[in-house]
């Protein structure tokens, strides 16, 4: 079994109570995971803190992942909780370099929840699983009293085998590597925000939920071992994913602000609401860090995929400033991009 020793700054969890921010994927989530779960459950596999746990069995590297879905509302333009649960679980495997083999799902249902709605969500799961060529092979059902669980929650488990041609790890990232992104950011988070109807804002925007397996496979095929790291920037957005990459490392990431693909609707909503699109969740985008020489080919491979037309090189790995993500503009301005703090948009997945 391969274990990766990582020296991370020690994080302590002393928070008096759980707040929404602990589920937002940003700094508070990190404190909960690294300050409470990690020390209490300590083992070398967990220590890697990647999207999937990697274990080696008879020479094959298995990737396993677990995920929970509490999105509100259950349905939103471009998707629903069932489709999101399947795609999200598949994506955690895909960005670990794994081919998904099967999923399981545990349902927590509220008494009084409409049977027809449950049927539609399970149909959505079946159709998403078919689209990705994965079977849902098991699960569990629990029911809680009326007034809890907002209709339904889904917890998932997924497993797959890691492609032997790649080894993805932050340790493999070096100065000169390029940062590639599969498409426009912020669609999912802003879609959910608007779907709740609390804001008098309307935009023709749909969630980007989709399986990322075609992107991951194309990158592995094209770049092979020149592919160094992948992540799907869900909660906390691109900013949080890249900060997790650089934290405690001797390199940093510099983003070219103007080259980050983004729809005008997302930009506009973020300008109006004072949100940073780099902190907004995505459910169908992938960040890949590849060597400088392989970058053009890898980008072309992503662009050749249906739905990858807007893929872009958004930045590069630089020696300075180490441990930080910077964004630079073409006129010479620069700013630090920090992890998400707090929770501007609770329960987006």
């Amino acid at each position: 079994m391969e274990t990766i020793e990582r020296t991370r700054p020690a994080v302590r969890f002393n928070d008096a109570q759980i707040e929404m921010a602990h589920g937002a994927g940003g700094k508070a989530s990190r404190r909960l995971v690294e300050g409470l779960f990690l020390p209490l459950l300590a083992n070398p596999i967990l220590q890697a803190l990647s999207d999937s746990a990697l274990t080696s069995v008879n020479g094959v590297t298995l990737a396993t992942t677990a995920d929970g879905y509490v999105v509100k509302p259950l349905r939103f333009p471009g998707g629903s909780i069932g489709e999101l649960a399947v795609n999200g679980t598949i994506n955690d495997l895909a960005v670990s370099g794994a081919r998904p083999l099967g999923l399981m799902a545990a349902f927590i249902l509220e008494a009084g929840f409409a049977g027809e709605t449950l049927r539609e969500e399970v149909e959505a799961m079946a159709s998403a699983a078919r689209r990705a060529g994965v079977a849902i092979v098991g699960g569990d059902t629990k029911v809680v009293e009326h007034g809890f669980a907002d209709g339904m929650y889904v917890a998932t488990f997924g497993f797959g085998t890691v492609d032997p041609r790649v080894r993805l790890a932050a340790e493999r990232v070096v100065e000169g590597d390029r940062v590639l992104l599969s498409g426009p950011i912020g669609d999912h988070g802003i879609t959910i925000l608007l779907a709740r109807g609390d804001l008098d804002l309307e935009a023709s925007l749909v969630s980007d939920t989709r399986p990322l397996t075609p992107f991951a496979e194309a990158l592995i095929e094209r770049a092979g071992s020149a592919l160094h790291w992948m992540r799907d920037p869900t909660r906390g957005g691109v900013a949080t994913a890249l900060n997790e990459l650089v934290r405690g490392r001797d390199f940093g990431v510099t983003l070219y602000e103007e080259s980050i693909p983004m729809r005008n609707e997302v930009r506009g909503a973020c300008e109006i609401l004072g949100l940073d699109p780099l902190h907004i969740a995505n459910e169908g985008q992938l960040i890949a860090v590849v060597s400088g020489e392989a970058a053009d080919g890898a980008l072309a491979a992503m662009r050749a995929i249906d739905g990858g037309e807007n893929a872009a090189c958004i930045g590069e790995v630089r020696a300075t400033p180490p441990g930080s993500v910077l964004a630079v503009t073409s006129y010479g301005g620069s700013r630090v991009i920090d992890m998400l703090v707090g929770d501007p948009l609770p329960r987006i997945c």
């Binding site: 506009g268 503009t329 006129y331 700013r335 630090v336 501007p344």
Partner: protein, 370 residues
């Protein structure tokens, strides 16, 4: 995106930056205060600081309504939130601002009904859909947001919505600028004037700054080109020894202000004799309260609140930062005990707070120019 991209044009920005470098006298140190926290954030978000010559120093002003609110007022608002059957509503900016016993968000996690709204009208709508509850809106802001509170109160009166009230913390910008100008430890050359406030007040209220204190004022927009052009206009005035009020933000700010908005404010509010500002102390006639005609919607009349004056934690230097005497990283607590997750002062969490701007956008190793 229209009205945004034109003002972020890299070529134009570079041109104006070059023009600034040409206009600034290299033998002189300029201290220019941007009054508005929105400007502070735009300057750091777009990295404009890097485009200015080293001898043009920007001093961050008190134009962040959340930051200048003393802790006692937050405690009073949260005391109302803990009354039975009350829904506490506020702008998102307030949610992580600490009172003595925690932030609105922490109270929400403990089960109190605390909701974020984007407009006071949303709070009134919540009141209408929850007739069995009382909805209190924690109103905050300068003249920018005061008119929307005023219109909401006028509508509440028209609807006779009796389960709605406003806890009013609206403040006015001019008395604060005057307090800074009269402060002995403050030496300033000029002001980047507030943009959003001026859409309501117009430009006339700032004329005393040029006339009585001899300092240029340029009302500025919030995009990179706006701010750089305003700095260029200020340097131009200083070079020719002038002191005038100029309006760079003409596409939004009318010289005479927004008369219907001012009328609505006049109908609903009256000036408090004095009000406490964090860091600046008590300033006379610097804040608004609901007039007697709106007493039925005035949370300060309808609820008993502790009304206790709370002093800031001793080690925190929020006051000095608010006055522009210290830059955020010069505070002993900056980035250590005080950070966006565990703020000691509101400046660290408000979207207009100077400490939040530095923490979010400025690299830690970057030297602070003083």
């Amino acid at each position: 995106m229209k009205y945004v991209d034109e003002f972020r044009d890299p070529k134009l920005i570079s041109n104006v930056a070059r023009e600034i470098a040409r206009t600034a006298d290299p033998d002189r140190h300029y201290r220019i205060m941007e009054v508005c926290g929105g400007h502070t954030h735009a300057i750091y978000r777009h990295g404009l600081k890097n485009l200015l010559p080293g001898n043009v120093e920007l001093i961050h002003g008190p134009g962040c309504p959340v930051c200048v609110l003393p802790m006692g007022r937050i405690d009073d608002g949260l005391a109302i939130a803990q009354q039975p059957n009350v829904i506490f509503t506020a702008f998102g900016d307030m949610m992580r601002v600490p009172g003595t016993k925690g932030t609105p968000l922490e109270l929400k996690a403990r089960g109190f009904d605390i909701r974020m709204v984007y407009s006071p009208l949303d709070a009134l709508r919540i009141a209408q859909t929850n007739p069995g509850k009382h909805v209190m809106f924690f109103a905050i802001g300068f003249e920018t947001t005061a008119p929307s509170t005023a219109l909401t109160l006028q509508r509440a009166r028209a609807l006779n919505a009796r389960n709605f009230s406003v806890f009013c913390n609206h403040v006015t910008i001019v008395p604060a600028i005057r307090a800074i100008l009269d402060s002995p430890d403050m030496r300033l050359d000029a002001f980047v004037g507030p943009g959003h406030v001026s859409t309501v007040t117009g430009c006339r209220p700032y004329e005393f700054i040029a006339r009585d204190y001899g300092k240029p004022v340029v009302i500025s927009g919030f995009e990179p080109l706006d701010i750089l052009e305003s700095i260029l206009m200020i340097l131009g005035q200083l070079r020719s020894g002038e002191a005038r009020v100029e309006n760079q933000y003409r596409r939004i700010v009318p010289w005479e202000g927004n008369l219907p908005a001012l009328r609505a404010m006049g109908d609903v509010f009256e000036l408090r004799p004095y009000f406490e500002w964090r860091g600046l102390g008590f300033i006379s006639q610097s804040a608004l309260k609901l007039s007697n005609a709106f007493a039925a919607w005035d949370a300060e009349v309808q609820f008993e609140v502790p009304g206790v004056r709370v002093t800031d934690p001793k080690a925190a230097q929020c006051g000095e930062v608010l006055k522009g005497v210290l830059k955020p990283p010069q505070c002993k607590l900056f980035g250590k005990e005080c950070n966006p997750e565990h703020p000691i002062g509101a400046l660290m969490v408000s979207s207009e707070g100077a400490c939040a701007a530095y923490y979010r956008y400025v690299h830690r190793d970057e030297p602070v120019s003083v």
